[in-house]
Every structure is written in structure tokens, then in C-alpha cells.
């Protein structure tokens, strides 16, 4: 089930909200847990048992680590921690990376083991990382053991962030799990955030994505320079609006239920260095890798070689987390190398230059990274980059002109919308005009209405010739 659907907006959500708010506090986590499992099972009727098992396992591990810590049995605590990490990474590797591993063993050893062709269970990259954050933090004694299985289960399966993040660390909502306060303020903010997110996804992301679809399906060797740039900019906008919209909707829904998730995106395309970019893009992932991989490895201590090794390792894993394919690893390493260069000297240089240089450098690097991200084969990546920087002989053609002309307003909305300026402008106007509530409500109703229209239109499927 996705948030941007008639099913979620007008069937699932109203029902869950009504039941949730009508029931006494002691049942609220149970309702969250059951509805979240239902939400998950709707899209994953077979692998729902996997997330339930993972929940039971980490709940048990958490309790055992806690018990061992109380009795000062350090080795036992470590043992249960390893069980949790091993099991979570195990199922993640098996389902997500199994075939990748087999493919690579095959090509390395020249043998031919058959592929498993397993479907990837939805959200597995998110919930395994979330439950690991729990057991690790219990071990680090940064959170208390959760003794209530239902409460723990509702953390793991919480439908607002189950499918597409943000990766919510247990410690972020530890208190709220046991004791939530919901105010009219939080519900109102939640609704606002959710609707804005819905609009970003349905109106901007989905539509600018059509431009990328057209370019992606074309023959790379015949792309004109302009088409290749229009295409990758469209993709950059699509992935930002899509992903950040999902986080917006997750955060909005969380607020309605009384949870405060951390921000996941902070206008990443305004960054003036790759270092800054990764503090603004998919923040929860960066934080997770920093807390649970980079810092335990030593972070920036232990000499320059260790430091560089840590950076490269973290970025290898970050890339790999995104998908079971070599291009994702290259994508991660691409950033790893740039980050090292920035740390060593590049950042200092950029700081002394005009801001626009830093911005241009970052956007260029990010656009190139999206090319690596989008194509699985090295040939395609090189082919597309060639189309962008050397060209296939044509600067622009009918296709590029048409795509540009028909989507110009949309591109402008997307580009401007990636900056904080619209919001800043609105806040300043609000102070002067003082009729903010009405206009904001009208704006939200407008976004909601148009979003519904686009959602319904997606299913429009006219037949030319009908046969009775």
C-alpha cells in the first residue's frame, strides 16, 4: 500500500485514525501494531511473517542483552547483540543480496549456480536497520529495554515509516512509545506536512518523472546533449521530490499519532559541497552509518590511513545499501572519494571561492552521481555521461526541445521548490499580511484536490474499440 493512493487516503487512513482516537490510551499501541501489520501484509502477503519474526527476535535479544547487562555478564550481552546483528544482516543479505553474491561468485569462479529469483520483501532495508539500532543502543545502554512486545512491535512496523523511511532510531521515539502527548497543534502540523508531501509526490515527482522515463527509454547513443541534461535534471528532481515527499508524509503521519520523527531532507540541492550535501540528503541513513559503522570503526581517529579507510568503507556500504548491483557501489564510492578530497583540501578551496562555484560543483557532481545511480551497466553509464559532456553529434533535437517546452513550468516549479525561498517568502508575507490561516488552508485544500485528480487520472484507461 502506498500513501499516495485512493486506498490509503480514503479507506485505510480514515478507518485507522477513527479507531485510534476513539480507543483508550492503553490500546493505542496495539491498534498501531495491528494496523501496521495489516498495512504491510496488504503489499506483502507472504513475507509479512518475516517482519513479525524479525520483531520477535530483536525483542528477545533486547531483553536478553538487558538481563545480561544487569547481571554484568558482558560476554553474554555481546553474544545476544551479535545474534541480533547477524540475524538482521543475514536476512537482509539473503533476500536482497543473495543473487548478487551468487552472480559474482559465478563470474569469479566460472561456475553456474542457479539464481534464487526471490522477491525483495518490502521495507527490509529499513526495518532491519531500525531494529538493529534498538539492540545496539540497548547494548550501549543508551535506551531502556522495551518490555512490552506490542509497543516494540509498533516501533518496528510503524506504518508511517515502514516502507520508505526515514530510518527512525529507537532512541528517537523511545519515550513517545510508552507515553505520547497529542495536541491539536501536532495534529494540525501533521496534516499540513502530510498534504504538502502528497502534493510533492503526486504533482511534481510523478510528473517530472515522466520526462526521465521518456529519456531513459531512448537509445542512449542517439541522445542529443540537451536531451541528456534535461533527462538527468528531471531524474534529480524526481528522486528528490519523491523521496522527500515520502519522508514528509511519514513525519506528518507520525505527528498525528504523537511521534516526532527527525527531519530526513533539508534542501539538499542548495549544498555547496558534497560534505554539506550528505548532511542534507537522506539524513537518517547518514546518521545511522555514522553512529553504527563509522564511529565504532574509529571515525576520524587512528591516523590518516585508518580515517580514509573508514570513509571508503562507510561509503561502500552506503552505496551498496541502495541496491544489489555494482553501480550502486560505484555511486557510493564516487561520493566517498569526493568526500576524501574535500576533507583533504577541496573544501578549503571552495570556501574561499564565490558561493556559486561551490553550488555549481556540487550540483554537477550530484547530477553525475545520479547517472551512475540510474544505470546498472557501466556501458550505459559511460554512454550517458558521454552524451552529456561530449555529445553524440547533436546539440539539441526535436525531442529535447519538445520536452523542455512542454515541461518548462514544471521544471521551474521543481527547481524553485528545491530551495527554501518559497517558504521564506511566505513566512515574510505572513508576518505582514496576518491572514495566514485562511490562505494556508485554501492552499492545502487546493493541493489535496489537485492531488486527488492526478491520482484518479493515473487509473484512467480508455479503450478505443469496445466489444460487447
Amino acid at each position: 500500500m502506498v500513501f499516495s493512493s485512493v486506498l490509503f487516503l480514503f479507506y485505510f487512513l480514515p478507518l485507522v485514525l477513527i479507531i485510534y482516537f476513539l480507543s483508550p490510551d492503553r490500546f493505542k499501541n496495539l491498534i498501531l501494531f495491528l494496523s501496521s501489520i495489516f498495512f504491510y501484509a496488504w503489499g506483502e502477503p507472504i513475507y509479512v511473517w518475516l517482519i513479525i519474526l524479525s520483531t520477535i527476535l530483536d525483542f528477545t535479544c533486547g531483553k536478553e542483552i538487558g538481563k545480561s547487562k544487569e547481571k554484568n555478564q558482558k560476554a553474554k550481552a555481546r553474544f545476544w547483540l551479535f545474534i541480533s546483528i547477524f540475524a538482521n544482516l543475514g536476512i537482509l543479505s539473503f533476500f536482497k543480496y543473495g543473487d548478487f553474491i551468487i552472480l559474482n561468485i559465478n563470474s569469479l569462479l566460472g561456475i553456474n549456480i542457479g539464481l534464487m529469483n526471490l522477491a525483495l520483501p518490502i521495507g527490509i532495508s529499513f526495518y532491519t536497520f531500525q531494529t538493529m539500532s534498538y539492540t545496539i543502543d540497548v547494548y550501549r545502554e543508551e535506551v531502556e529495554v522495551q518490555k512490552n512486545f506490542i509497543s516494540f512491535g509498533s516501533y518496528v512496523a510503524l506504518f508511517p515509516q515502514l516502507i520508505a523511511g526515514p530510518i527512525v532510531r529507537y532512541k528517537t521515539i523511545e519515550k513517545e512509545l510508552n507515553d505520547r502527548v497529542v495536541s491539536l497543534d501536532s495534529i494540525s502540523q501533521g496534516i499540513t506536512r502530510f498534504i504538502v508531501g502528497l502534493g510533492k509526490k503526486v504533482l511534481i515527482a510523478n510528473n517530472i518523472g515522466l520526462v526521465w522515463d521518456t529519456v531513459y527509454k531512448s537509445d542512449i547513443a542517439s541522445l542529443s546533449i540537451l536531451t541528456s541534461w534535461i533527462g538527468i535534471i528531471a531524474f534529480a528532481l524526481q528522486i528528490y521530490f519523491d523521496f522527500s515527499a515520502y519522508s514528509d508524509m511519514a513525519i506528518g503521519l507520525g505527528k498525528i499519532f504523537g511521534f516526532e520523527f527527525l527531519e530526513n531532507f533539508n534542501y539538499p540541492y542548495t549544498s555547496r559541497s558534497i560534505t554539506e550535501f550528505w548532511r542534507r540528503w537522506h539524513i537518517s541513513l547518514g546518521t545511522w552509518f555514522k553512529e553504527y559503522v563509522y564511529i565504532p570503526l574509529g571515525g576520524n581517529r587512528g591516523g590518516i590511513i585508518t580515517h580514509l579507510r573508514n570513509i571508503l568503507l562507510v561509503w561502500f556500504l552506503t552505496g551498496f545499501w541502495h541496491g544489489a548491483s555494482w553501480n550502486f557501489i560505484y555511486w557510493g564510492m564516487f561520493f566517498g572519494v569526493l568526500l576524501i578530497l574535500e576533507k583533504l583540501f577541496l573544501r578549503n578551496i571552495i570556501k574561499k571561492l564565490p558561493k556559486v562555484i561551490g553550488l555549481s560543483y556540487t550540483l554537477l557532481a550530484v547530477l553525475v552521481s545520479w547517472v551512475i545511480f540510474s544505470f546498472e551497466t557501466t556501458n550505459a553509464i559511460i554512454g550517458y555521461l558521454k552524451a552529456m559532456f561530449i555529445g553524440n553529434g547533436v546539440m539539441f533535437d526535436n525531442l529535447s526541445l519538445y520536452l523542455l517546452l512542454t515541461n518548462l513550468p514544471l521544471f521551474l516549479i521543481g527547481i524553485v521548490g528545491s530551495t527554501p525561498y518559497p517558504k521564506k517568502l511566505w513566512l515574510r508575507l505572513r508576518e505582514k499580511l496576518r491572514i495566514d490561516g485562511v490562505i494556508e488552508n485554501l492552499y492545502l485544500v487546493f493541493i489535496l484536490t489537485i492531488s486527488i485528480a492526478y491520482l484518479v487520472d493515473q487509473s484512467f484507461n480508455p479503450f478505443l474499440y469496445f466489444r460487447f
Partner: protein
């Protein structure tokens, strides 16, 4: 207070729509989309496990969404405001013209279809010494390209039709209608909101076809021109549901005298008129011509000249045939999409003076049914 207002407004909107969803009666057919809509799926265990139930249920939620057609209209309005030149299905052309957003040409399928056509041509030539005439009917895009949005990518039918022409067997005859219709492009020869040609466009093609088949066509003045509909919104309109131009007009060209003896559809339904006026009240008004497409239609006229025609067609021929009925005593129309038998056998089993394959350019490349030509 401000918060309460916002929460109330949003909650009411969502709840109202949710309740509407449950209260409105289920529609099983959409006239606008010309298809059956998804109804509430049955709850079956196997369907739940393989995900069929959830995807059918989701389809049900959108297909049965209240005021579905109006929401489509809102979306089109939004596209227009954003100055988009297409909505993914249809181009918003200049001068109120709409065009289909076309897919790529599948050259494999084109090759196969030309092979079927050639086998048919050669068989008829060998066994009955009959020359099959292939008539390539252009799409609106290639005749009215000046009305397309600037730089809009479309399929080059001049190229496509010349590929077809060069591969068709020399035992047959090819008539490419692009040149003649291009000379008439300033006249109303294609509908603005539908992909078909108008009766006038069909008339000009009839003149060329008469040339090829060797009979003298009737002058335009010989026909009585009657406006049968002035609010025709065709196939391309139905893909956007919002049009701020003027609707299309359907004209009927007929002779004063009634020349139809009988019309037999699919060998068991009798009609006596080439035109089905009931469709003028519905959305799909082009089906006024012959009532739509059927596998086999037999037309017997009062032109007792003994001549008979086999016309293998797509829907363009529906508005062309009324002109041809003035020159044959018997016309058989076969639509390969709905005809279950072998067209070759049908052609060999009956006596025909002329055999015509009249197909739209894109249909020659896209039809999945041309195999029945040589079955």
C-alpha cells in the same frame, strides 16, 4: 482555534469522500473510457496470497471513485494551466486539434504484417488472377502536422508508408493516400477530436480509389450533404474529458434514392441502413457509420451491375463504404480483428471483382490480427 479549523476542514473533506465512496452505487461500465470498470473483488485465499486481491481491490477503489470523470477533467485543466502540450495520451495541438501520443513503431510486427499481406496478395493473384489493392490511409498527424505542438515527436508516416510501399509484393497494387489528402489539408478532412477522417476526407479518398479500381466516381454535388451531429467529441477527447474548443461535426453524404437492399452482419443480424442513428445519442458517435466494427458485413445494393467488392478494413472504412455502395451490387466487409476465419479462404470461396485492403498506416504496423489474412 486556527488548528481546530484546519483539522476540521481536512477531516471533513477526507471523511466526506470516504463516505461517498461507500454510498454511491457501483458503476460497472464507463462510457467515457469505453470499458468495464472493476467491481468489488471476491475474497479468495489464493488471491490474497499472490497479491491479486490487493491489486484488484486497489483498482476497484480508483475505478469506483465518486465523480471519476470530473476528476479527470480537473487533471486535464491542471495540465493546460501548466502549459503542457500533452497529457501523456493526447497532444493539445493548435487550432483546437488533438492528436494521439504515439508509441514507437514495432518494426518486427510491421515486417510480419507485410508478409501476411504479401502472402494474401500472391495467393489471390495465383489462384484467381485478382490484383489486391492495398490502400494506405494516413493518420491525422501526417496530414495536419502544422497543428501539432512545436517539435512534438510523432511517427513519420511518409517514411513508414514508403517502407510499406517498397515491401509490398508487385503482384498487388498500392495506393498511398498521403499525397492526395495533403493537398486537401485546409479542408475539414479529419475530425479535431477524433482520430478518424471526416466524410469529406473519406470522399476525397474515394475519388482516388475509384481511379485505381477503374470506375467513375460520383461528383460531390450528386450527394445530399446532411449535418447529423454538431457535438461530436471523439476518441481523443475521451482521453482528456476537457476541451475548450468547438465540437466536431459529422456529415452524412447520401444520394436521394435509397440504394441499400439489405445489410447482414456476421451472417445473422439484418439491418437496412448503413447508418446507426442510435449512436448519435451516445458518446461514441463515429459508430453512427455502420454501427461500429464487425467481423463480417454483407451489403447488398440496388446497383444491379453484378459487381462485387471484398473490403478488408479497419474503422476508417466505415465512413468510406457509403461512397463505394454506389458502384457495387455486393460488398463484403471483413474486419480482421473480429473475423474468426481465414480471409484467404473467404476470398477464394466467393466471386469478387475487386479486392481492397484499406488500412490506416499505423494499423498496418500495429494490428495483431493480420494473421487471419492467410490462416
Amino acid at each position: 482555534m486556527k488548528n481546530k479549523l484546519r483539522i476540521t476542514i481536512m477531516s471533513i473533506i477526507i471523511l466526506l469522500i470516504s463516505i461517498f465512496n461507500m454510498l454511491i452505487p457501483i458503476r460497472s461500465f464507463s462510457e467515457l473510457e469505453n470499458r468495464y470498470l472493476e467491481i468489488l473483488p471476491n475474497l479468495k485465499y489464493e488471491d490474497i496470497l499472490d497479491g491479486d486481491y490487493s491489486s484488484d481491490f486497489e483498482k476497484y477503489t480508483t475505478d469506483q471513485f465518486p465523480f471519476r470523470d470530473i476528476w479527470i477533467r480537473i487533471k486535464t485543466a491542471s495540465d493546460l494551466i501548466l502549459m503542457k502540450k500533452d497529457n501523456g495520451r493526447v497532444y493539445f495541438g493548435k487550432n483546437e486539434f488533438l492528436f494521439d501520443v504515439n508509441n514507437k513503431v514495432d518494426y518486427e510486427k510491421l515486417k510480419n504484417n507485410i508478409q501476411y499481406i504479401n502472402k494474401f496478395i500472391e495467393k489471390l493473384n495465383t489462384e484467381k488472377n485478382l490484383k489486391v489493392n492495398l490502400i494506405i490511409i494516413p493518420s491525422k498527424e501526417s496530414i495536419h502536422e502544422e497543428h501539432l505542438p512545436d517539435y512534438a515527436p510523432i511517427i513519420d508516416e511518409i517514411n513508414l508508408s514508403s517502407i510499406i510501399e517498397s515491401h509490398v509484393s508487385t503482384q498487388g497494387e498500392v495506393l498511398n493516400l498521403i499525397p492526395v489528402l495533403k493537398t486537401k489539408k485546409d479542408e475539414y478532412i479529419y475530425y479535431k477530436t477524433d482520430h478518424h477522417w471526416t466524410s469529406l476526407g473519406a470522399y476525397y479518398s474515394y475519388l482516388e480509389i475509384a481511379n485505381v479500381l477503374g470506375f467513375k466516381p460520383l461528383e460531390k454535388e450528386a450527394f445530399k450533404k446532411e449535418l447529423v451531429s454538431k457535438d461530436f467529441l471523439g476518441s481523443q477527447y475521451r482521453k482528456i474529458n476537457l476541451f475548450n474548443g468547438s465540437a466536431d461535426e459529422i456529415y452524412k453524404y447520401s444520394l436521394d434514392k435509397d440504394i441499400i437492399n439489405s445489410i447482414i452482419v456476421n451472417e445473422n443480424v439484418e439491418r437496412n441502413d448503413l447508418y446507426d442513428y442510435s449512436f448519435l445519442e451516445k458518446g461514441d458517435k463515429y459508430s453512427f457509420f455502420l454501427g461500429g466494427d464487425y467481423g463480417l458485413t454483407e451489403i447488398n445494393t440496388k446497383n444491379y451491375n453484378g459487381k462485387s467488392l471484398l473490403l478488408i478494413k479497419d474503422s476508417f472504412s466505415n465512413s468510406l463504404v457509403p461512397f463505394l455502395t454506389n458502384h457495387y451490387e455486393k460488398i463484403y466487409m471483413v474486419d480482421t480483428r473480429y473475423y474468426g476465419g481465414s480471409v484467404t479462404n473467404f476470398a477464394l470461396d466467393n466471386e469478387f471483382d475487386d479486392i481492397v485492403l484499406a488500412l490506416n498506416n499505423m494499423n498496418i504496423a500495429q494490428f495483431n490480427s493480420l494473421g487471419s489474412l492467410t490462416r
